[in-house]
């Protein structure tokens, strides 16, 4: 209802707080006006007159240009930090180094080689990549590639020792980690994995390196792995040391004559060299790399140089410095603390050659292969061992135990452990994977001709102190790694 001025004046005199409220409204509207003016897009987000979106697009394009402008490609080395994360759970395990040769093109495709396995070391793989603005500029390998192999949670692909569901702790999405503008990046680019924080270093390849990669791939990897035996003996001008695979097979365990010291060192494969992550001192010799590796098919040895001195790498059937009492120590440690493994035997260069990871049994899921000594009554106060796969999901987790999974152990001369796999009479039929595995346990060899008596196994302690490798003493071509995980 309209009010006369006289009436309004009398209202204000009676209620002065109404006048104060009006002031609040004035301040309110003034404040809104100031805030809106502060949100003007034209003002402070531009740098040098270039809007943020444009600057981000320019930076990403520059990163891509850096990658594609390397005329001979990049040598990329990825270093894990000994952890692997999946679904918020992190596990600890051995460290590893993975090397790649990559050539990026402008159509978001990258062709690469990797030292992951023999195929990847020589056959180029083409995959897609993107450079995207996440919290930091990020390089993403967005279709399955050699970079994804060690990340794969399927252990039968990654051969990761971190357990089911976990890769090696490598990544396939990397943030650019150099704190410089994209345009200022040089011949070396540092990356950091977005999930596992694995670090990677990209170094521009030379023309000579590109030629080597395109003609023979990761030649040092292919050459070194032509020796299929577990024990590789290196002789550098009379200085002898032994290389055996580190846990998971992505590093070296090094031992010297007469010494029980085990030195574990990461190894980076290059076209003709194997570069050790840290120098290793052996008999007064400091070994930083094994260079100029050449395979001699006739003698089944590798010629190389170490610090410029000629060297040979030869297969061996027995350890250079066997640990005294290791077989009985291995047996005793397992008495109340069973030895476990997920993959089965590595045979002649093939991990889990009989696909033990793929074992099935109705209503149950394969969990571990188990060596559990001293359990099954052998009479006279003696006991046989359990050497059989264990499944979860039912009360009888060892369905093949009495169908050939009971082992009669025997300690042989030279510290070898032999087994005779006993037929318990259970009519259940063993799958081929177990038949083949039991055959290796029975003979201590990976293939015929077999000896009249089993050659048994050498037990080799690994540098981590918790893993023991069981190596076929008959040919050193097969081994299985036991631990308590």
């Amino acid at each position: 209802m309209p009010q006369s001025p006289g009436r309004l004046l009398s209202i204000i005199v009676d209620h002065p707080e109404l006048l104060f409220m009006k002031k609040i409204w004035i301040y309110y509207f003034l404040g809104i006006a100031v805030m809106l003016s502060a949100c003007d897009r034209k003002s402070d987000l531009n740098i040098d007159g270039i809007p943020t979106d444009v600057r981000i697009a320019q930076a990403l394009a520059t990163y891509q240009q850096k990658l594609t402008d390397a005329p001979y490609g990049w040598v990329v080395t990825q270093y894990t930090n000994g952890t692997s994360t999946n679904g918020g759970v992190t596990r600890n395990g051995p460290k590893a180094v993975f090397s790649y040769y990559m050539k990026f093109d402008k159509n978001s495709q990258v062709s690469m080689l990797s030292d992951f396995n023999m195929g990847a070391a020589t056959v180029f793989n083409n995959t897609g990549y993107r450079i995207k603005a996440n919290q930091r500029p990020t390089l993403i390998f967005d279709t399955y590639s050699y970079v994804h192999l060690p990340c794969d949670p399927d252990g039968s692909i990654s051969n990761s020792p971190f357990g089911s569901g976990f890769g090696w702790g490598t990544d396939f999405e990397f943030s650019f980690a150099d704190n410089v503008a994209a345009a200022e990046l040089g011949d070396t680019i540092r990356l950091k994995g977005n999930l596992n924080q694995a670090e990677a270093v990209m170094v521009k390849a030379t023309q000579a390196e590109q030629t080597l990669f395109t003609t023979s791939g990761f030649g040092s990897y292919s050459t070194f792995n032509k020796i299929l035996e577990y024990f590789k003996r290196v002789n550098v001008g009379g200085v002898i040391f032994e290389i055996t695979p580190g846990v998971g097979g992505r590093s070296f365990d090094i031992k010297t004559t007469g010494s029980q010291t085990i030195t574990n060192v990461g190894c980076q494969f290059a076209p003709t060299s194997i570069i050790l992550q840290e120098p290793v001192t052996v008999g007064g010799l400091t070994v930083r790399s094994l260079d100029n590796l050449v395979w001699n098919a006739g003698s089944r040895t590798i010629s190389a140089t170490v610090n410029g001195t000629a060297a040979t790498i030869a297969p061996a059937l027995a350890p250079l410095s066997p640990e005294p009492g290791i077989a009985i120590a291995f047996y005793n440690e397992g008495l109340d603390n069973p030895w476990l493994t997920i993959p089965g035997f590595h045979i002649s260069g093939v991990d889990d050659a009989y696909n033990i990871r793929g074992l099935t049994f109705p209503g149950r899921t394969y969990y571990r292969y188990v060596y559990y000594p001293g359990l099954v009554d052998a009479g006279g106060g003696d006991f046989y061992d359990v050497l059989s796969p264990f499944f979860v999901g039912a009360t009888n987790g060892y369905p093949y135990l009495f169908a050939g999974g009971v082992a009669y152990p025997y300690l042989q001369s030279g510290g070898r452990l032999t087994f005779e796999m006993l037929d318990g009479g259970d009519p259940i039929v063993n799958p081929p994977a177990i038949i083949s595995t039991n055959n290796v346990f029975n003979t201590g060899k990976t293939a015929p001709p077999y000896f009249a008596n089993s050659a048994g196994f050498y037990i080799v302690r690994k540098a981590d102190g918790t893993t023991m490798d069981m190596v076929t003493a008959g040919d050193a071509l097969g081994w299985i790694s036991w631990n308590h995980q």
């Binding site: 106060g381 009360t395 987790g397 009479g425």
Partner: protein, 133 residues
């Protein structure tokens, strides 16, 4: 009131989850527990009386007698592992007790077949040694 109830439920679920995570057995313990269960549920008649036709009615009793006997033998062996002569002295009494119990379940023909299956002492790769010695 609703909020208090909601918070209480969340706290309870969180506690249960943490407890479940803490109580997940290690692989070694899982494997050991699995062996205990397998041992308790094995059909021993199939292994130790493999050429003897044991009826379905006899099987549970036979398996229980064998398992108890193996338990007693293991206890005796582990207690005297430094001096197995004690084991060798006491094992025959355990075996006689086992034989008496088994004879109460098996008929005489089955029992004779079982006793005839005794392996020689030096047949170290015969699982039946586990019962007879």
């Amino acid at each position: 009131m609703k909020k208090i109830f909601f918070i209480a439920v969340i706290t309870l679920l969180g506690g249960k989850l943490a407890q479940a995570q803490q109580s997940t057995p290690s692989p070694v313990n899982q494997v050991k527990e699995g062996y205990k269960q397998t041992r308790a549920n094995t059909d021993y008649s199939m292994i130790y009386l493999r050429n003897i036709a044991v009826t379905d009615a006899q099987k549970p009793q036979v398996n229980k007698i064998i398992l108890n006997y193996l338990d007693a033998k293991r206890t005796l062996a582990l207690a005297n592992k430094q001096d197995l002569s004690v084991y060798r002295q006491q094992q025959p009494a355990l075996f006689n007790d086992f034989k008496t119990k088994l004879a109460a379940v098996l008929n005489s023909e089955q029992m004779s077949a079982f006793m005839a299956s005794k392996p020689p002492l030096d047949d170290k790769k015969n699982l039946l040694r586990g019962l007879f010695y």
